[in-house]
Symmetry: C2
């Protein structure tokens, strides 16, 4: 079907800033001439902008990035749209930035896909493949991507539809937008998917201040019928945002539906947090299996988790914003702010208590591994340590399996008799340390970024912890350290910690330490990762 004549010409949108421009000190801040009211401010580029720029994580060339949007595989490439202020390293004037990839790791910048307009900012939303032209808005071409997103003004948040017939590069707003409007200024972040059993499109969208997730259905992506509401459920908080619903395989067989809901502020660890519910979805109602809530992270820098649409083989893959609203606008970079997590494969697994919990693993990062750093450790006696130099400016991928010795039978009760800790320290000669530790007595793990001196702010919490398995002195861990980011996947991905980290000087050694008991290192692998970003980084 040809494009209806009432679809307006594609709006002029600002192009993605040319990152070369910002490699010169005090280069002009990009301010597209066709954007009214843009205050041109110089880009103050600092050493921090380079030092803290990740090499295997996506970050914007300049400006401010938050939520991932419109995550979709179009059959050939993966799209990463993102909440983006191209004009300043602060939140505001939100556009949809855009990058594409064939592997979710190597990203090519694309022009801004959806701009701020007189109707408001282009808030979070989704993208779907309208293969059968359900909208009736596409012509004969085979590239049919539909974006459904929130157009936000101070008075109104409503859901807009836009189409792209050029492989997601540019979008044209539907002329009869909004497609869904309930007269609220707190109604946002639609995620849409095709639900085969009921042969309809299903939207989940947040009634943010009501702390409810609303479900709608449509056959054409344009006309929406209210199905149900879920919640309030989970943590107290100010706003519920970015609902995402996905069917996730259960390890060992079967699958369950998982509803992710981001809460901000109100996270127990402070500010932003992503909670999830496990249950079933019948096309109309999400019915949780129980009233248990999960948190996707034990640290506090993984927010607005979104899942990929249209993945082959039903693989469940997510990307989250690696940040927290408590401090994202004060981070020590100047020309750019915002990072995405690495893509993560999600499964469900029963934990020691039989609870079905989310397990996350980094996806495809092993393809970036370079020659392993020679580092062989089999045994560390109590109180021992071993240290090696690590390359600066390169992302590292560390995997370990460790068992801490049993408590000696003749030890007294109390603190001295109950210890048995294994610590992984990244540090430098200035005395900065970033440590991840395992306490074998309690089966708990900690993450401590407190002894890094590159950033301080009242809400930039230093320490986090999680419980792995009770009565188990073994732990497995995988961690990706990349400039200002640390992602920890412990206990087979059941305990994930995502944290921004800001050493004042590069961390150039890795040390393993024990206290209170010896430990056997069953496996250890430390690999530099090949840089995939085209941004200027420390290396």
């Amino acid at each position: 079907m040809p494009v209806p004549p009432n679809v307006p010409a594609k709006p002029a949108v600002p192009q993605a800033p040319d990152h070369d421009r910002t490699t010169e000190p005090n280069a002009s801040h990009p301010s597209p001439a066709d954007q009214p009211g843009v205050i041109s401010r110089p880009v103050v580029k600092t050493q921090s902008d380079t030092l803290y720029r990740p090499t295997v994580h996506f970050s914007p060339v300049t400006g401010f990035m938050n939520d991932p949007n419109g995550l979709v595989f179009d059959g050939m490439q993966y799209h990463l749209y993102y909440q983006y202020d191209p004009f300043a390293p602060y939140a505001g004037r939100v556009h949809w930035g855009h990058a594409t990839s064939s592997d979710l790791l190597n990203w090519q910048d694309q022009p801004i896909a959806i701009a701020e307009t007189k109707d408001g900012e282009a808030y979070t939303g989704c993208a779907v493949i309208d293969e059968k032209n359900a909208t009736g808005l596409f012509g004969t071409g085979e590239s049919r991507i539909v974006a459904i997103y929130t157009r936000a003004s101070p008075e109104k948040q409503s859901q807009f539809l836009a189409i792209s017939d050029d492989h997601g590069r540019t979008f044209t707003d539907y002329v009869h937008n909004p497609v869904l409007d309930i007269g609220s200024n707190s109604f946002r972040d639609p995620q849409v998917q095709f639900h085969k059993p009921t042969n309809q499109w299903v939207m989940v969208v947040a009634k943010s201040r009501l702390h409810q997730i609303a479900f709608f259905a449509s056959v054409d992506l344009i006309h929406w019928v209210h199905l149900s509401d879920f919640g309030p459920s989970g943590l107290f908080g100010v706003d519920y945002e970015c609902p995402n619903l996905i069917e996730i395989p259960v390890e060992g067989g079967g699958s369950r539906w998982v509803l992710f809901v981001s809460v901000n502020p109100g996270g127990p660890t402070g500010g932003s947090i992503t909670q999830y519910f496990v249950g079933k979805f019948d096309g109309s109602w999400f019915i949780p299996d129980d009233t248990v809530i999960g948190l996707t992270d034990f640290a506090k820098d993984a927010y607005a988790l979104q899942v990929y649409n249209n993945m082959p083989h039903g693989e469940a893959v997510s990307v989250a914003w690696l940040g927290n609203w408590q401090y994202c606008q004060e981070l020590p970079t100047q020309s750019w702010r915002g990072v995405m997590t690495v893509p993560r494969t999600m499964t469900l697994r029963r934990d020691f208590a039989g609870w079905l919990r989310l397990a996350q693993q980094p996806r495809g990062i092993e393809t970036l591994r370079e020659v392993a750093i020679p580092f062989t450790v089999h045994r560390l006696e109590a109180g021992a340590s071993v240290q090696i130099v690590i390359p600066v400016g390169t992302a590292l991928d560390l995997s370990m399996n460790v068992t801490v010795d049993e408590r000696a039978p003749d030890l007294p009760p109390g603190d001295k008799g109950r210890t048995g800790r294994f610590v992984i320290v990244l540090g430098n000669e200035d005395g900065e340390t970033l440590s991840i530790g395992f306490d074998a007595f309690s089966g708990q793990m900690w993450l401590d970024r407190n002894n890094l001196r590159g950033f301080a702010q009242p809400f930039f919490t230093g320490e986090f912890s999680t419980v792995l398995n009770p009565d188990d002195r073994h732990f497995d861990i995988r961690m990706i350290f990349d400039a200002s980011t640390l992602e920890i996947f412990a206990n087979g991905g059941l305990s994930v910690g995502t944290a921004l980290v800001f050493p004042a000087a590069p961390l150039d050694f890795l040390r393993l330490e024990t206290s209170g008991a010896g430990a056997t290192v069953e496996s250890l692998s430390l690999c530099p990762l090949r840089k995939v970003t085209n941004r200027e980084t420390a290396l």
Copy 2:
């Protein structure tokens, strides 16, 4: 009814240690001769034992204290029983310690009430007034207190009953104990109350590893019938413990039932946490109003919350253990460990979003106020500060109402334009600070104990935060600072933060600071509190 002849003679129990003994350095650790297998270890008394000893909070003379138990008002006095190892400053060999009070603040030590026996340790439980001799175990005397508690061995946790006819001073175990046994080693912490509408005693008790709260009923406190199970519900965790069910008044009228469940480890802030559910209770089932969970605290040192039984006028009063299992056995005191929170009056109140939430206020502390410290502040311009000397070794009660100025209209977006912070700092000349701050832009508050140097441990998290009200630049706060304890009641008690604090040297000044915006101080009261403990303290 006379005491049945088959009730055994009261067992010999160790007496509460005489605290005078411990005022001498290296006094012998009390080791009652009638306790088999007690290892006599010297009490190493350190300066920390005095420096960190609270003056208005209950703490044990020597040994290790955790959960409050058997909280009951017997018509004349309040009882505080508590989980207690009299032999060492570590958890283990659990007895029920005991203290009594006429006001919940001035406590008199009493002999240990329930001892460890060959059947196991005396774990957490409750006490009720058996006014009508429902058990049939009392004689003609009018003092009839029944304790129902968990007797715990490595193989078995079952519920025991014991009676006291001497005003709760000594207890005699029922001869046919246990009164409730499901063959589990993970079944503990019964709380019992008389439910008038159904004319029966109701018990809530944790199936800890199943993450369920079981409900039982009885007419005689001896024979129990299973009613229902609640959960799994709320946070993932290793053990669910210390369930407490109570009807709490809603501000403005009416009441709801609240079920408190302690989780350890598994708290999002690390280790121990207390969650609660609001709903109704019909005598058989607890039906939550929704699937929202609340947390009693935004910091991490308020666990095992228990409520007072038999309170006049249905007042809802709680006491929690001011500690966390992640580090309670490594605290820098040597002869004693463990503190209780101040008693707190609980109500339910609708927050900005209409959610019914727990509000907590310290109970009766104002009766301990001495002459206020002269400190008058009406206005602080942006960037200003004011500082006064505070007395050392005395507990302080600070109340404030503050409004931070509106953001100036000509400020740029981003960090500089969005700030407006008001900070309360307790500090000393050594550079140690304990700070509580309010960020007016985001309506959030923080607590930072990270810059105190008296204690460090991987899980002793430094910073916490909470959200008060969005879009509100006003905040009210009340805080009780007492040696090694800080309790914050903000937003009318909706946000409560309870934290152990260990300055290496006494904090001797209080400073108020602003940044980014000025502030108007609508009210300010700073009062020393009269010492009520008979322990040796810094003053």
